[in-house]
């Protein structure tokens, strides 16, 4: 290192460490994702992770075909589907609710979609809170209620319904906005709010908290849909996985076990 002194030794040392890190990451990548065959790529909502992890494990065991689950928020999944990679296209899309599949369909991205489960809006109470017996209790008990914003189906459908029935004006001052339905549920779990309006399927992931099914929330429903994407490089395999998800003995069984009201 003539001419560079001790600083040069540090520079070369850091370059050597960087090369070592690159090698370590490459080895790790090769172990995690063998390059024998491209897996089926499923963009799934993070909230559906328990169901899809079980389904993918079973599917891999039965067919020998690898499934790569890529999780994220539904709106972010939609962005990825809109920006398909030529070398790494997605095969299936499973967002948290049907509204994202509808959006993808309008953009011409969906080859086929099928409903898997239905969800309805319920009130998830913070730990230790007693369920309201009537809608008026929300006001009389001065309850703070978390609700996802309008980008999420629960936020949009709840607002639409309550505006139509004239109840929104009463609820609005008590509403604390959240980005997603799970953010709402987590706010209730931590006691940051007294209750959250969430899907029943989401509420079942919080077994230590009570839920209330208020008549005023009746009719606020959505479906979980799974779509095969047009960009899929292997549509036949994607179709096969979709059938597996819809099979009452396979995919639907896992959804049912996790508390979803499945569509037979």
């Amino acid at each position: 290192m003539a001419g560079t002194g001790r600083a040069g030794v540090w520079a070369v040392g850091s370059a050597a460490v960087a090369v070592g890190l690159i090698v370590a990451l490459a080895v790790r990548e090769r172990t995690a994702a063998p390059t024998d065959a491209r897996p089926l790529v499923v963009y799934a909502a993070a909230s559906l992770r328990p169901a899809f992890t079980r389904i993918a494990t079973e599917y891999e065991a039965e067919t020998g075909q690898r499934v790569e689950l890529r999780f994220g928020a539904s709106e972010e999944m939609l962005t990825r589907v809109r920006l398909p990679s030529a070398v790494d296209p997605g095969d299936l899309f499973a967002p948290a609710d049907e509204s994202y599949v509808t959006s993808a369909d309008k953009l011409g991205l969906v080859a086929e979609s099928r409903p898997v489960a239905r969800m309805r809006a319920v009130l998830l109470l913070a730990p230790g809170r007693m369920p309201p017996t009537a809608w008026g209790d929300l006001a009389s008990r001065d309850m703070r209620v978390s609700l996802a914003n309008e980008a999420a189906a629960i936020g949009r459908l709840t607002r639409q319904r309550l505006i139509a029935t004239g109840l929104w004006r009463e609820l609005e001052p008590r509403v604390r906005g959240a980005a997603t339905v799970t953010d709402s549920a987590n706010a209730a779990k931590l006691g940051a709010v007294d209750a959250a309006i969430v899907w029943d399927a989401v509420a079942r992931q919080y077994p230590d908290q009570r839920t209330a099914e208020l008549p005023e929330l009746t009719g606020i429903e959505a479906e979980v849909r799974v779509a095969v994407l047009r960009q899929s490089a292997r549509p036949a395999d994607a179709e096969r996985f979709l059938r597996f998800v819809l099979d009452p003995e396979h995919g639907l069984r896992h959804f049912r076990d996790l508390g979803f009201r499945v569509v037979e």
């Binding site: 040069g8 960087a18 993070a46 992770r49 994220g72 953010d183 987590n186």
Partner: protein, 259 residues
């Protein structure tokens, strides 16, 4: 001579508010934490994989950041060139942009013809290189700022003296400028590493969350929160704090020895 005490009490009170706030955050996490959740997190192969990927990728991103920050920071501090203002603006963009936009921009970049060409050789999106690149883009911007300020604080006179005494520009840089700026360069490395290990938005959008493959600690926290598993999320956050504290302690020790 009047007592200095009121001065120090006032400063300690003002600064102490922030220190107490951070301490309270950690204490609140600690009180929420259950040993069983920590054990479960440690036993989970996906979480262990996320710990390793976080440590390896953020270390690589930090080293690359310093390698970029030293020449760029030096040029911005010591030279005047056409378009300097534009370069300064561009370097600050990753700091100013919302993290999700950084990730989205990277995703769009790799859909262009040039991006696709690169991906023909090395798969980037939704793979480990995407994790490193997402971390690097933001942490390098912070490292450049730090190194630049360090060089600006030095007059450059010793460098000039070295040149008068016969050193070439390279020799003066390596033997005088870099040793003088070593504390700032180390601080830039530490800052870059800390930022990289906590990077979430760009990694989420650009690298996605594939368990055991592109999942890093912040995205592991996000995955647990998304199914209401707050206990596991806090346990992973605790692992993240412990791993970060260990690495930062090693870096500080290294820095004090170098100093």
């Amino acid at each position: 001579m009047k007592s200095d005490r009121p001065f120090f009490v006032a400063f300690a009170a003002l600064g102490g508010v922030y220190v107490l706030l951070v301490a309270a955050l950690l204490l609140a996490d600690l009180l929420y934490l259950s040993p069983s959740a920590i054990l479960a997190a440690l036993r989970d192969p996906n979480i262990r994989s996320a710990v390793w990927l976080s440590l390896l990728s953020s270390s690589l991103a930090a080293i690359l950041s310093v390698w970029v920050a030293v020449p760029l920071g030096y040029l911005l501090a010591r030279t005047r060139f056409p378009g300097r203002g534009i370069v300064e603006f561009l370097v600050d963009v990753p700091i100013v942009l919302p993290p999700l936009v950084v990730g989205l921009s990277l995703l769009i970049l790799f859909q262009t013809a040039a991006g696709r060409w690169v991906q023909g050789f090395v798969p980037v999106t939704y793979a480990v290189p995407a994790v490193v690149l997402a971390q690097f883009v933001v942490s390098a911007a912070l490292a450049v700022r730090t190194v630049r300020v360090t060089f600006e604080q030095r007059s450059g006179r010793t460098e000039d003296v070295a040149r008068v005494l016969g050193c070439t520009r390279w020799q003066a840089f390596w033997r005088v400028s870099v040793p003088e700026a070593r504390r700032g360069i180390l601080a830039a490395g530490v800052l870059a590493w800390a930022r990289a290990v906590g990077e979430f938005g760009p990694v989420l959008v650009f690298a996605g969350v594939t368990r055991g493959r592109t999942e890093v600690l912040p995205t592991a926290v996000y995955l647990e929160l998304s199914v209401g598993n707050v206990e596991a999320a806090v346990a992973i956050a605790a692992l993240m704090i412990a791993a970060s504290a260990a690495v930062l302690a090693i870096m500080r020790r290294l820095a004090s020895r170098t100093a």
